[in-house]
Amino acid sequence: MSNNLSPWTQTAPQDASPTTPPGTPWAPQQLTNQPPHQPPNQPPNQPPREPAPAPASGGGPPPSRPVYDGRLGELYAIYLRHLALMLLTLGWSRFWGRTNIRRYVWSHLAVLGDRFEYRGRGRELLIGFLFALLLVAAWVGLMWLVWRFVFHERPMASFGMFDLFSLSVALIGFPLAYVGHYAGLRYRLSRTRWRGIRCGLGGSAWGFGALATGLHFVNATTAYLLTPLVSVNLARPRIANTRVGSLPFVFAGRAGDIYGRYLGYYFLNILAWVVAGVAVFAAVGGTIESLGLSSDDLLKLLAKPGLNTVLLILAFAFGAYIVFGLLILPLRCWWQAYLLRYLVTHSRAGNVLFTTAISTRQMWGFLVLNYLIVLLTLGIGWPVVMHRTMKLISAQLWIYGAPEGHEIRQSADRGPGYGEGLLDMFDVAGI
């Protein structure tokens, strides 16, 4: 497709004003001229509509953005209730807590004036978790048998039961985390409704797990030079298998399009690490020398840290953070923002096109700042991160066109009966 070479995707303005819709790489004639539906008088509980900006240069209906009207205070009230129940039930309430948070977030996000609906249930997550637990128990049993009959009381018996188990879990854990990621996505989409229509995800979770494991392995053994290939090929099944009822998403990305930018990032990254390493080394060496400390003195200082030592270590941590923060992370965000723009712009759902002008700075806020918020608040800042993320999506995702409502039919597939067990077990558990 010729529009893969859209001038916009390659040179996204870093300072794009959020109210200026970026151009779309898809041919404008693909758009129908149907205006997005607009109720005659807007009742108070409808999501506030985006004031329609001037039509994009190719004509067609005005672009819109999702609207998120959730409030941080309300989200906190729900989150704190969840934490309190977690403490009371030693964590067993998390399935229901997570479900409630999703219901809140989904319900406050609207696309084309209609809110999403999350209809998952806590007990479905509990059952999924119990299944995963069963799976692990079966695996432990199998490993015990292997140990008992293969390793036990043999010459190579320096291999303990726990060694065998940890090793085997490390081996199956990686693929299973990917399988769980995909299956979790399928579960969440199958419980998501828009205009009463169920979303869904086709494809095989095990296939995705095998693909992801293979690609990541090959990428790691080739010094991460295949990253664009991995990113595009792992994005494809997740995007192209997604559907809203009978409306499928389409993904038209190709790794070749983004290789030029990636190679630039790759070598800049190496350079940045060298510069950062030299800078930190020089700073640490210089300070120790200027204080006239031997390595023994240093060890003594670390063992019985006085106030000065603690302050000094904090100063160093801060210094290292500045060096890395200035050099490495923005570079990574530069690449990640580019990748996300590429992936979003090359996805569509029927005649509905997507685009985003997310900037390096916004990606920094999403990847780095959000991480720091969770880290520095020991997790209590999590709702802030969620809120920021939803606000970012609603500010940065542009939707061109509107689907013909009567052409999207309900899908007969109700999705899996339970969800996310593997995700809970092997992956970082999120919302």
């Binding site: 008088n41 009742p43 108070p44 509980n45 999501p47 009207d69 409030r71 205070g73 309300e74 906190y76 009230a77 729900i78 704190l80 209730r81 934490l83 309190a84 977690m86 403490l87 030693l90 964590g91 998390r94 409630n100 219901r103 809140y104 319900s107 004036g113 209609d114 609906e117 209809r119 018996a157 320096s158 039961m161 726990f162 205009r195 009463g196 229509i197 169920r198 009822g245 060890l299 003594k300 063992a303 019985k304 840290p305 991480y371 969770v374 880290l375 020991l378 997790g379 209590i380 999590w382 689907p403 409502g405 009567h406 052409e407 999207i408 039919r409 309900q410 970082v428 558990a429 919302i431």
Partner: protein, 359 residues
């Protein structure tokens, strides 16, 4: 039956993604959903089959559905919602509750702080009192599992008279302390010069410790120290505390943040080490006390530490400071210093057998 105000609601038919802008009226038996222009009826739902999904705390407009159908009625207008609720009691979940977000936040925060405090207290002090009541078989099972794993590839010393001697003294000392269960001492061939205690009264000595001891009272001193750990249930308490702190951190960080748990885990480790140093002091003093109560020579602990200090003049524990699992050795010597008086803990024959336990 009175008509409700003809304010738009939205109706999704559950078959397509078409949006119908509708009004709703309630008859004696039905919810009638119709288009305000032309009054064309879109759907008639028997009132007995109408339910609300979700609640207003989590959802802006909880959808009204007919049981068993994918169709949804979204009543955007609060006035219409209020009217519907007054006519159809099963639609009560649609009524907006007073927000009072601030009060909810304050309430749940207080609950969290209180529960963290209670949880902490249970971990920190509860274990102190509760662990002795934990079934011994459970603790022994735990200890044996760890033992099997630790010693999977180690050579054990099987000299029966030697093992009998050290087990005899161990059980004498435990009985002196009123510990009601059997103690089992295992001896592993080789080093380091060390001994440790597992849950359920399981002791492990390394033979290098016995080889390098100058006299039997040094081995007896170390043994008494380990019995001190046993009678205070230190290994089980340590395990429960480590597990409890870890769980607490996971719960408080919402389980969302691996990184938060890692940072917290560092704090948990420091705490475990602090508890560890306190436990060592307690075991030292109890060990000495037990030896003295039985009229045995109690100079073994301090002389053994002195011997270690001579070999390794740098006090590793003192150097490691807050990162050490044991108190500084010099401090322990000062605290356990006793005169070389009293009966020997082992008979000459026992001591000889113990020396040869690995041969």
């Amino acid at each position: 039956m009175a008509d409700t105000a003809a304010t738009p609601a939205r109706y999704y038919d559950g078959e397509t993604a078409e949006v119908h802008h509708v009004a709703v009226r309630v008859t004696t038996q039905e919810l009638v959903i119709y288009r305000p222009t032309g009054a064309e009826i879109v759907a008639r739902w028997p009132i007995g089959e109408v339910v609300v999904l979700g609640d207003v705390e989590h959802e802006v407009v909880p959808p009204v559905v007919r049981r068993g159908s994918d169709a949804r009625l979204i009543v955007d207008d609060p006035q219409l919602r209020a009217n519907l609720v007054s006519l159809v009691p099963s639609l009560r979940p649609l009524l907006p509750q007073p927000a009072a977000v601030g009060r909810r936040i304050a309430m749940f925060s207080t609950a969290i702080v209180a529960m963290v405090g209670i949880f902490w207290g249970v971990i920190e002090y509860g274990t102190e009192y509760a662990v002795p009541f934990l079934p011994h078989s459970l603790q022994a099972q735990l200890g044996e599992t760890v033992l099997d794993d630790l010693l999977a590839d180690k050579e054990m010393c099987e000299g029966e008279p030697g093992l009998a001697a050290i087990n005899r003294l161990a059980n004498d000392l435990a009985k002196e302390a009123g510990y009601p269960h059997e103690i089992t001492v295992h001896i592993v061939e080789g080093g380091p010069v060390n001994a440790f205690t597992l849950p359920g009264g399981i002791l492990v000595f390394y033979s290098d410790l016995i080889d390098q001891a100058k006299n039997s009272s040094q081995v007896a001193g170390v043994l008494a120290h380990e019995i001190g750990h046993v009678v205070h249930y230190h290994p089980t308490k340590g395990l429960i505390r480590a597990y409890g702190t870890d769980l607490l951190l996971k719960l408080v960080s919402g389980g969302y943040s691996e990184i938060a748990s890692t940072v917290g885990g560092g704090g948990g480790l420091l705490l475990a080490l602090r508890n560890g140093r306190a436990a060592e002091r307690e075991a030292d003093s109890t060990g000495i006390d037990l030896l003295e109560r039985r009229g045995l020579r109690a100079d073994g602990v301090s002389s053994f530490f002195e011997q270690l200090m001579e070999k390794e003049p740098k006090d590793a524990a003192a150097a490691a400071g807050i990162w050490s699992s044991h108190p500084p050795t010099a401090e322990r010597i000062a605290a356990t210093k006793r005169p070389p008086t009293g009966k020997p803990a082992f008979t000459d024959a026992e001591w000889k057998a113990l020396r040869n336990v690995c041969k």
